[in-house]
């Protein structure tokens, strides 16, 4: 499904280029959930942005493919249409654009790019109501401008709402647990678990093990210094929690 091979990337413009990813290799097969853990500055968010094609991040070598398609050759919107979804660590406020309008525009843009018909208004509404109920989102919130004046927890919940509406093939969750209280965390995790499927892969980026109690990963990778330095089962996350990054990193070094 998602395959990264010796990925190297830098951040910044001409004068201050900083290498962040330094030969990252990773494979997430369909149906699996992999966690990326690592200390601050390890390159976790950079990985999310490199995968989704944000300006300012330059891939200097290596490959990244989703179901064999070269992600790095695509525009951000093409990657989205190919099924890649990023739940942002800091979701952006879009003034003047109601949530429903935004999600419907996104969904139909993706469908158009894939050569599919647009979703009908009644079908869209029905689906939105179902998903909102599942995530305990008040439908009034869906009429408000996207993320404007929303709390941190509301924003994260809305990221999962969009994910469940758009039904991506592969999702990247970037620090989705930050800003969530324990009830909201459970709701969000339930949403993510509900879309686990044999043809869908996930990459869960997190600093803490807390989220992984709710979204159980198949594999855990430790990212440090721009590379995967350790991989293992869920027990690796527990070890990190107990021994800290220093303990595990020390051993790897």
């Amino acid at each position: 499904m998602l395959k990264l091979d010796d990925l190297q990337a830098t951040v910044g413009g001409e004068d201050n280029v900083t290498p962040i990813l330094k030969g990252l290799s990773l494979e997430v097969p369909a149906g699996e959930v992999h966690a990326i853990m690592g200390p601050n500055g390890a390159g976790k968010s950079t990985l999310a942005y490199v995968l989704t094609g944000r300006d300012g991040y330059t891939v200097t070598s290596g490959t990244a493919t989703l179901n064999g398609a070269d992600l790095l050759a695509m525009e951000p919107e093409e990657r989205a249409a190919a099924g890649l979804f990023l739940s942002f660590q800091y979701p952006v406020e879009i003034p003047g654009v109601p949530v429903m309008t935004f999600v419907r525009t996104a969904m139909n843009s993706q469908r158009k790019a894939r050569g599919e018909a647009e979703i009908s208004a009644p079908d869209f509404l029905r689906k939105a109501r179902e998903v909102a109920a599942q995530l305990k989102i008040d439908t009034d919130m869906l009429k408000r401008p996207l993320n404007v004046g929303f709390s941190g927890g509301e924003k994260k919940r809305l990221e999962i709402f969009q994910m469940m509406m758009l039904e991506p093939k592969f999702l990247v969750l970037d620090e989705t647990d930050s800003g969530l209280d324990i009830d909201a965390l459970r709701i969000v995790a339930d949403g993510v678990n509900a879309v686990r499927a044999s043809d869908r892969g996930m990459l869960v980026i997190t600093h803490y093990q807390r989220l992984l109690d709710h979204i159980r990963p198949d594999r855990v990778h430790v990212l440090a210094g721009g590379r995967i330095i350790a991989s293992g089962g869920p027990e690796l996350a527990e070890r990190l929690e107990q021994e800290g990054y220093d303990g595990v990193l020390g051993e790897a070094a």
């Binding site: 989704t52 094609g53 944000r54 300006d55 525009e75 951000p76 919107e77 990657r79 989205a80 249409a81 979804f85 990023l86 942002f88 979701p91 952006v92 406020e93 879009i94 003034p95 003047g96 654009v97 935004f102 999600v103 525009t105 996104a106 969904m107 843009s109 993706q110 790019a113 401008p145 969009q162 758009l166």
Partner: protein, 408 residues
């Protein structure tokens, strides 16, 4: 008249000679003479004049040409509005106005009070002939909106409307300025008596070959309310000027505008608000977006003399430069002599939010559409609190079409 016509303007340009000739062909009267003399003091406004630095009408065209006629669309008014149509040579539709609205044409319309402050308003007052000068008195709230359509033809077209709204009467008033002449001038003068309320919705469109001047003067008696919403697409030169005076205590004004200037287009939104009585309120929100080769100008002034205690005024102008090579010039001004007032202003100019664009693209929305959506949302804020939601969506759909047109 003692001064020969040709000597009215010092060293006239060919375009100014055309205007002098037009004036000379009209039947003169004292009011017309006063207006033309006010115009003649400066001639066509140019960059060395206060308030015209970014909107040079004199240098723009040596000669006023006759632009090719084009197909015209109707955006405002819906199906129920009464239409006053200035075709460029004459006015039609003034015989079919709703109950409570009386219209009459006059040879000797009153002199334009703001002539000294507004050269293009003065020119319009001077050169609007009888078929294009209308006085309107509104004595009771009409059952439908009134929509004035201004079309130009040939070298110059001028039209003038003087509107008196009697106490407590409400009026839904619309204007479409569709250009068509080398230079079009429209002058609309509103007097709102105590407790009267007017919502004025304006749509302006033109081509690079044309110049347009839309001047409005507004006088508000006590407790009167004037709400203005302008959507302007500009032309070769466009000046949309509003001069408003709060004359009675507790009057309220909203002067909002959105402007969209494409390549080769110029649009200037200028306003002057004088708080001439205590306890009045002014709210102004102007949102602009300019493409490469376009130019937007915002000049706003609130004048608050000592008498105007308890003034509550806020002026905001925010412009988006959509591409490199777009130009926006802004001059917000507060002149305050009263000490117990709340007056604020804000002025920003920048590009679209890069984080917002990336977020939208990550959801699958193509870059151009993401830009259009963000820009449309920006412009829409100027029209948020329009009362007439039908006109609001008509204006916003025009903005949406412009934003999605290739190479506009």
């Amino acid at each position: 008249m003692s001064i020969p016509l040709r000597e009215l303007i010092a060293d006239p340009t060919p375009a100014e000679l055309q205007l002098i000739a037009r004036y000379g062909a009209l039947k003169s009267n004292a009011a017309r003479e006063r207006s033309f003399e006010a115009f003649a003091r400066t001639g066509l406004p140019h960059r060395r004049m206060e308030g015209w630095r970014w909107s040079d009408f004199r240098a723009a065209r040596a000669v006023l040409g006759s632009p090719a006629q084009r197909e015209r669309v109707n955006v405002l008014g819906g199906s129920d509005a009464s239409v006053l149509h200035f075709s460029g040579s004459r006015l039609m539709g003034d015989g079919d106005l709703p109950k409570g609205v009386r219209a009459f044409r006059k040879d000797d319309a009153q002199a334009f009070g703001g002539a000294e402050d507004s050269p293009l308003g003065a020119l319009t007052a001077a050169l609007s002939d009888r078929p294009n000068t209308l006085m309107i008195e509104v004595t009771e709230t009409p059952d439908r909106p009134i929509h004035a359509i201004f079309d130009g033809v040939g070298e110059t077209s001028f039209a003038r409307i003087v509107i008196l709204v009697r106490p407590g009467v409400r009026l839904n008033w619309m204007e479409s300025h569709r250009g068509g002449a080398g230079l079009s001038g429209a002058l609309v003068e509103f007097t709102l008596q105590a407790g009267a309320a007017v919502e004025r919705t304006v749509w302006q469109i033109g081509t690079r070959e044309e110049m347009q001047a839309v001047t409005a003067s507004v006088t508000l008696d006590a407790q009167a309310e004037f709400r203005q919403f302008v959507l302007a697409f500009g032309a070769g030169r466009t000046r949309i000027e509003t001069r408003l005076v709060h004359q009675g205590e507790g009057s309220r004004a909203r002067l909002n505008a959105g402007y969209l200037a494409g390549n080769g287009m110029h649009v200037d939104l200028t306003s002057h608000v004088r708080h001439g009585a205590p306890g009045c309120e002014t709210r102004q929100v102007t949102k602009g977006a300019v493409r490469k080769g376009g130019k937007g100008v915002f000049q706003g002034k609130f004048h608050v003399p000592r008498i105007a205690q308890k003034t509550d005024a806020d002026m905001q102008h925010n412009a988006l430069l959509l591409e490199d090579g777009a130009e926006v010039d802004a001059r917000p001004e507060l002149e305050i002599y009263a000490d117990d007032v709340a007056c604020a202003h804000g002025n920003t100019c920048g590009g679209l939010d890069a984080a917002g664009l990336f977020y939208m693209r990550q959801r699958g929305i193509p870059l151009e559409e993401a830009r259009a959506i963000l820009t449309e949302a920006h412009i829409a804020q100027a029209f948020d609190d329009m009362t007439d939601k039908g006109q609001q969506s008509a204006l916003l759909s025009m903005a949406g079409v412009w934003l999605r047109a290739v190479g506009s």
